[in-house]
Symmetry: C2
Subunit: 113 residues, 2 copies
């Protein structure tokens, strides 16, 4: 099946996971996967949270920012892939002046990595 | 963690899943996810196969082609997202004249969708 993000309703989420500002996302969700195109607006963030029985894979489409992880920070730019394995924590921060747009998948797993 | 596809060894796979020509892929693999950047070369394909306890999410980075699914065909172009839920079959075909480059995730799940 094709997931047409432009045809999905975009949800605006203020203070997502306790972060700053707002994030908007168009998502296809079933029992196994949340598949989304998400926009972290300038000076906004997705707060620090853990992925337990799921993981998250983020591929940057446009914009810049950073991911805060347990060991430090990872810069985000177009074409960068960030992976938060099951069991890990992260926070996504747009500290730039343009939208940070990502393609992201949150799959549900049976086990920790 | 950052997955740097340019730093991973790219594997060239002829007749992948019984398809035509060859596919090359740089992949990060753990117990829960196969995360890859794959190139389906012109006149090449990934053969018809089923995803059973995993699924596949494909996001087209460049090039064109199509996915053959149980109900027909889905055109691929940059920015298109194809989803093969657990339990479904698909085949990816590059019937164009340039490389079809995709970002793809194959997550392992406990259950069918």
């Amino acid at each position: 099946m094709i997931i047409d993000f432009d045809a999905l309703e975009e949800q605006e989420i203020p203070n997502f996971k306790g972060g700053d500002g707002s994030v908007s996302a168009a998502a296809h969700v079933d029992a196994n996967n949340r598949i989304m195109r998400a926009t972290v607006h300038p000076h906004s963030s997705i707060g620090w949270h853990q992925h337990l029985k799921n993981s998250e894979i983020v591929y940057v489409l446009s914009g810049t920012g950073k991911v805060v992880v347990e060991g430090g920070e990872e810069p985000l730019a177009p074409g960068v892939c960030h992976y938060c394995p099951a069991g890990s924590y992260h926070s996504v921060v747009n500290d730039g002046e343009e939208d940070l747009v990502v393609f992201a998948v949150v799959p549900e797993h049976a086990a920790l990595s």
